[in-house]
Symmetry: C2
Subunit: 155 residues, 2 copies
């Protein structure tokens, strides 16, 4: 169940999404939380870094690893505004995160609920608890606003 | 079909794997090739960088993106000694690589043949041609040597 804290951390992820929005990146944001404290923040920077790996979750995970001085983010949670893709879901597994909270689904590339459910795959060496729908409307709205503006610019 | 060139590039990936081996990292190596030229090299650096994202394929893709000054690695191929995991397979899709050649399968985490076949999933917005078994024996042997030595050290 989503709690008051979940909303607080997803709001921090939405702030990250907003940072992506204002620089023309697909507006997805993420934070990693340990013991009630944000230890990594990230937003999509694919175009600015010219790097297809630079998704919000990857940026947040790498900052969290640097904070913790460890690649094992045991007992850490990740909040992300949009359902992770295969790459990010794989990074979440590889980093041993405990729980993932996401806002809205991505029906075209989501690997947590939509196309795959890899975070709960019992064949892998680590499984992750998933909560979806935290600040879902806001997470979806910023994406809609971004793509509507992009279509307008094209015309 | 594996050609003479495939062997040449997989040997370069094996050199990367050897670099990981000598510093105590799980010995997996990768290269990205564009127009017959290596534009990115990488080996697993998870322990040294304290970063669960730092797999061989990710390192090679990020170097290739920097070389090309683009996140789109269109018409580029990736050679990797061991079957990519979910994260790396996702990064391969996100980077729009054309072809993936890998040496040996990873039955525990492989996402290209073993547990998933994500590179050829028609639901995703990009599909990738896959060739497996290029220098398979050498790719598997360096892993066996590494884990045998690790078990010895534990005793």
């Amino acid at each position: 169940m989503a709690s008051k804290n979940d909303h607080q951390f997803m709001r921090a992820a939405l702030v990250e999404a907003q940072k992506a929005f204002v620089i023309g990146e697909v507006p997805i944001g993420a934070v990693v939380v340990s013991d009630g404290r944000i230890i990594g923040r990230g937003h999509n920077l694919r175009e600015h870094l010219n790097d297809g790996v630079a998704h919000a979750e990857i940026m947040a995970i790498e900052e969290a690893c640097a904070t913790m001085n460890s690649w094992r983010l045991v007992d850490c949670d990740l909040y992300v505004t949009i359902e992770p893709c295969l790459m990010c879901a794989g990074a979440i597994i590889n980093s041993r995160l405990k729980t993932v909270y996401f806002g809205a689904r991505d029906p075209k590339a989501g690997a947590v609920r939509s196309l795959y459910q890899v975070l709960e795959d019992p064949r892998l060496n680590h499984q992750i608890e998933v909560f979806e729908g935290v600040l879902k409307a806001q997470s979806a709205q910023i994406m809609k606003d971004f793509f509507r503006a992009a279509r307008k610019r094209k015309k």
